[in-house]
């Protein structure tokens, strides 16, 4: 599904140039659950941003579903993104002014799904995430665990092929964290590819494979059994 080759990304200020990704090459197959680990500043988030097409690389190739996307325009990337990729963040990033239902509905609005179909799909996914009873609440009225469920519901409502999760349990206690990991595992078992950045060895154990980064390079891969 994903093949990156010799990917490079630099950050420049007036005086210093920092290498975030240094000729990084990774392949991820459809249906995999991959965890990316490494110390702060190793390039995890940069990699996730590029994989999620939020950012473009300075050099190298990124093939997504057999399409070279490294030099796509912002608009093309956005279009590919909204149909194929779902995001889950450490800080949930729900929109405060919208209810649970409306937050989950938003991606469907942006992809132009008809209203009746939207209601059906949002209810379906809320049901699956066991958050249906909170559909008319605002994010501030929910616990962290509930908020992350909503965020996951929002990420999957469009049935993306790939979910990118950036420390999804970072702001949760262990019990809520485990619930979230179970949810992701379920999704993966139903066929969704998942790439997750994490600091937690515990969470990483839910994945099939761990890629460890240091200074923008892959230094080790662990296959989980």
């Amino acid at each position: 599904m994903i093949k990156i080759t010799n990917l490079e990304k630099f950050y420049r200020t007036e005086e210093v140039e920092t290498i975030a990704l240094n000729k990084l090459s990774i392949e991820i197959a459809t249906g995999e659950f991959v965890a990316i680990m490494g110390p702060s500043g190793c390039g995890k988030s940069t990699l996730l941003n590029i994989l999620g097409m939020l950012d473009d690389p300075d050099a190298g190739s990124y093939v997504f579903n057999d399409i070279e996307v490294a030099h796509f325009t912002e608009r093309k990337r956005a279009d590919l993104r909204k149909h194929n990729i779902g995001f889950v963040f450490q800080s949930f990033n729900l929109i405060d002014e919208l209810t649970v239902f409306e937050n989950v509905e938003l991606p469907l609005i942006y992809t132009g799904v008809a209203a009746s179909e939207r209601v059906k799909r949002v209810e379906e996914v809320l049901d699956k995430m066991q958050i249906m009873h909170r559909r008319n609440h605002y994010p501030q009225q929910l616990s962290g665990g509930q908020q992350q469920r909503v965020a996951i519901a929002r990420a999957v409502v469009n049935k993306p092929k790939l979910i990118l999760a950036d420390e999804p349990t970072g702001n949760l206690d262990s019990s809520n964290g485990n619930d979230v990991m179970e949810l992701l595992t379920d999704l993966n078992e139903q066929g969704t590819t998942i790439i997750m950045v994490t600091h937690s060895e515990h969470d990483a154990r839910y994945s099939h494979r761990i890629i460890r980064l240091l200074d923008g390079q892959s230094v080790m891969e662990n296959i989980m059994v």
Binding site: L54, D55, R81, F87, N93, E97, L98, L106, I109
Partner: protein, 796 residues
């Protein structure tokens, strides 16, 4: 999708109440001002356009200049209309209007004075669109001594308009048959009247007697060019014999441009002024711009609050276009609310505005549907305009920076925002300086020494012709009251900007020579100069004791002497005209008066000749100087004396200072309107400043806390928060000063006597703006500075 946008927009408005309220208030005031002025401007534009054939109707006016004089007059003489119709096949119809048809109306035992009655030709009904309620347009004014009344006059005379038809009324004791009743003439006409009368049969007058108005209905609009081009030939054919050689031009004024563009001598009524329409229109747009800028500034300044939401929306699939639509939804929703509020404000303010502008505007001036459509379109356009920059800016943030909340306030955005604040204050300061200078000028013209003492002088017109022959008796009876100091007589009330003119010192053969002048002529008696306390420069005043003074003596003013460069004017013999037998009249200058103003101060003192009345009828304006005490009793005494001589008319007093003050009414109106707009502009600009400083204080709450912990005083903090904004106001003062100087310099050109524009006017305007801005900013910065730092630091 749209529903979703408006839902979010609404929730955002509710969530940030203070900023929403600031935005709504600012926009509502801006929109209300804009609408009020738009109503005013469209009303000014609408003059005479209700006429079905408006685009083909023209008024004929004359321009001429010759050695020693020029004239630009709206009047023509009686033969113009038939001659033009005869000479030019392009003329479909030509009609005349003579405004001198007013007078006393008698019906049975009912009597009233009605000044607004015009003599005219029957074809007027083919040219102008007057709607007949009773009677027939085709024949109404064909016969002499016919009269067509407007509905209001008919109702005044007969109770019901329907009863008027075919009745006979007396106008100045001549019987006239009412042949029709028409709807009242719309107020947005450059002339209105109470009744139209037919001319006497085959009415005509000499070519040189320009005392009526000629209107043409042309077959095609463009035909006027051909007629204007024939001016020279027309002059040679008809007018040269009467007037002698001169440069002459006929002008055909399009009907719809008369109200705003014509400012000739002897206009049929007070016209508007296109410049003020442009100025007010411009001011309206600027005030709206100030309000829109508030929205732009508050929205972009607060972008950091929204930035994360924007990032999230982008990540989950929103395109730039969709984001922009969302921001447009917010600005449109806000302007919709503001426009509704503005509607309420307008309804509330209209009576006051009407009083100020002398109009009778209503909110639904153009009907309900048009108004509602206009309101919606306007709200949409304003909403999109105010949302444009914020939408472009906010939707343009890069996704990752937005997610990290790193976009806050870039240098370029801050600079742009500052420029907008400067722009707002430039407009405000120009308006403050403008109001200040208009006030100074009006104060100056009201208080300038006019060369005579205008206080406690009352003037009134003697209506009754027989009373005019008993002037001496009236004067002596008035003088019996010790409260009356003196009584003088003149042929005109001064200060009304209407004094006749004549030739002075033409050649011995009656032809123009190098020492001749067009001069103002004023007929006065020997008591006029002492009554008005006009000073003598040389020679003596007229004397009742000198029999020769009446026919053989004149007095002149200093300007005339200066212009002709005479060293010894007194004793000179001058030619002052031609008598009925064609002999040149020669008179002797017996005295020179110091200049005094007979016209308001838009006009320079003109060369002037004072003569004694040749006939009793020339003395029809009394000037009475009274003591300061018990004026009501004196007035009632004068009324009583007057009623002994004129049993039909009441004495209509006017104070001389009021005569002059009336000539500044239009300037005063403009001054008041501009003053109110200035207040509104200041108000809106300050709302914006208030919003900005509130937000800055909110954003810097932690910094303020730290500074206080480190020992900063309240003054330090207030300075910190206010400094930047105050600098902007100072920059605005510097830029605004030359702009205001230029504008006000132009405005002052309409006065012959004017104040000097001093540098400190602008300093005062700038200081006022700085002060107001500082007070606004302080309210919030002091609050932030006195807050408990422990709280702000803990909240982090």
């Amino acid at each position: 999708m749209l529903k979703n946008y408006f839902k979010i927009a609404w929730r955002n408005l509710i969530k940030h109440k203070v900023f929403s309220l600031l935005n709504v208030c600012g926009l509502a005031i801006g929109v209300a001002t804009f609408w009020l002025i738009s109503l005013y401007v469209t009303d000014e534009w609408s003059y005479d356009r209700y006429n079905d054939k408006a685009d083909r109707i023209f008024r004929v006016v004359q321009h001429a200049d010759w050695n020693g004089g020029k004239s630009n007059i709206a009047v023509t003489s009686a033969p113009f209309a038939p001659a033009l119709k005869n000479d030019y096949p392009e003329v479909e119809n030509a009609i005349r209007i003579d405004a001198e048809g007013g007078g006393k109306i008698t019906y049975g035992d009912k009597q009233m004075n009605e000044g607004d009655m015009y003599f005219t030709d029957n074809a007027i009904f083919n040219v102008f669109s007057y709607h007949f309620l009773y009677g027939v347009a085709r024949s109404a004014l064909v016969k002499p001594q016919s009269v067509v009344l407007t509905k209001t006059l008919a109702q005044k005379l007969f109770g019901e308009a329907a009863k008027a038809l075919d009745k006979t009324i007396l106008i100045e004791n001549n019987p006239n048959t009412i042949t029709g009743v028409i709807d009242d003439v719309p107020v947005n006409s450059h002339f209105t009247f109470a009744a139209l009368r037919s001319f006497p049969a085959n009415y005509t007058a000499p070519w040189g007697n320009s005392n009526l108005y000629t209107y043409l209905l042309l077959k095609n609009h463009d035909d006027y060019k051909h007629i204007e081009a024939g001016s020279g030939a027309f002059f040679n054919k008809y007018l040269k014999g009467d007037k002698g050689p001169m440069h002459y031009q006929l002008e055909l004024q399009p009907l719809t441009s008369i109200h705003l563009n014509s400012n000739l001598d002897y206009e049929l009524g007070a016209n508007g002024n296109i410049t003020y329409v442009y100025v007010f229109g411009g001011v309206a747009l600027l005030i709206l711009a100030i309000a829109v800028i508030n929205y732009v500034n508050l929205t972009t300044a607060r972008s950091s609050v929204r930035v994360k939401e924007i990032g999230v929306r982008k990540v989950i699939g929103s395109s730039k276009k969709q984001l922009m639509s969302m921001f447009f939804a917010e600005s449109v929703l806000l302007t919709m609310i503001a426009t509704l509020a503005a509607g309420v404000l307008i309804q509330f303010a209209l009576p006051y505005f009407n009083q100020l502008s002398g109009k009778s505007l209503v909110l639904m001036q153009f009907g309900l549907t048009k108004t509602v459509v206009a309101f919606i379109v306007f709200a949409l356009v304003t909403g999109i305009l105010s949302g444009l920059y914020p939408a472009l800016l906010l939707s343009g943030f890069s996704t990752i920076s937005a997610m990290k909340g790193q976009v806050g306030n870039q240098v370029s955005t801050v600079l742009f925002r500052k420029s907008l604040v400067v722009f707002q204050f430039i407009v405000t300061i120009v308006m403050i300086a403008g109001s200040c200078i208009i006030y100074q000028q009006l104060h100056y013209v009201m208080n300038k020494d006019l060369g005579f003492n205008k206080a406690q002088v009352l003037t009134f017109h003697i209506r009754d012709k027989s009373a005019r022959t008993k002037i001496a008796a009236i004067k002596s009876q008035l003088m019996q009251n010790p409260a009356i100091e003196s009584v003088g007589i003149a042929g005109n009330p001064i200060g009304d900007n209407y004094i006749g003119s004549g030739n002075f010192n033409v050649g011995a053969d009656g032809k123009v020579n190098s020492e001749s002048k067009i001069v103002e002529t004023l007929v006065i008696d020997e008591d006029f100069i002492p009554t008005l306390q006009i000073k003598l420069a040389q020679g003596r005043n007229f004397s009742a004791a000198m029999a020769t003074d009446q026919k053989q003596a004149v007095m002149v003013n200093q300007t005339l002497v200066n212009e002709l460069g005479w060293k010894k004017p007194v004793g000179r013999m001058v030619h002052t005209g031609v008598d009925e037998q064609g002999n040149v009249i020669t008179q002797k200058i017996i005295g020179v008066v110091m200049d005094f103003n007979t016209y308001s101060l838009q006009h320079k003192v003109a060369p002037m000749v004072l003569q004694m009345p040749a006939e009793a009828n020339d003395e029809d304006n009394l000037y009475v100087r009274m003591g300061k005490n018990n004026i009501p009793a004196t007035l009632s005494y004068i009324s009583k004396v007057y009623s002994r001589f004129d049993t039909e008319n009441k004495a209509e007093f006017r104070f001389l200072d009021q005569n002059f003050a009336n000539q500044y009414q239009s300037e005063q109106k403009q001054g008041s309107i501009l003053f109110i707009f200035t207040l509104l502009a200041i108000c809106i600009a300050c709302l914006g400043l208030f919003g900005l400083v509130t937000f800055t204080a909110e954003q810097r709450v932690k910094e303020i806390g730290i500074r206080k912990v480190l020992g900063a005083s309240v003054t330090n903090i207030v300075t910190l928060l206010s400094k930047d904004l105050m600098k902007l106001v100072l920059v605005a003062t510097v830029i605004a000063s030359p702009v205001a100087w230029f504008g006000m310099h132009k405005w002052l050109q309409s006065f012959a006597y004017r104040v000097n524009i001093h540098w400190w006017f602008f300093a005062v305007a700038g200081a006022a703006a700085v002060l107001i801005a500082f007070i606004t900013v302080s309210t919030q910065s002091v609050k932030a500075a006195t807050a408990n730092p422990a709280k702000s630091l803990k909240s982090e």
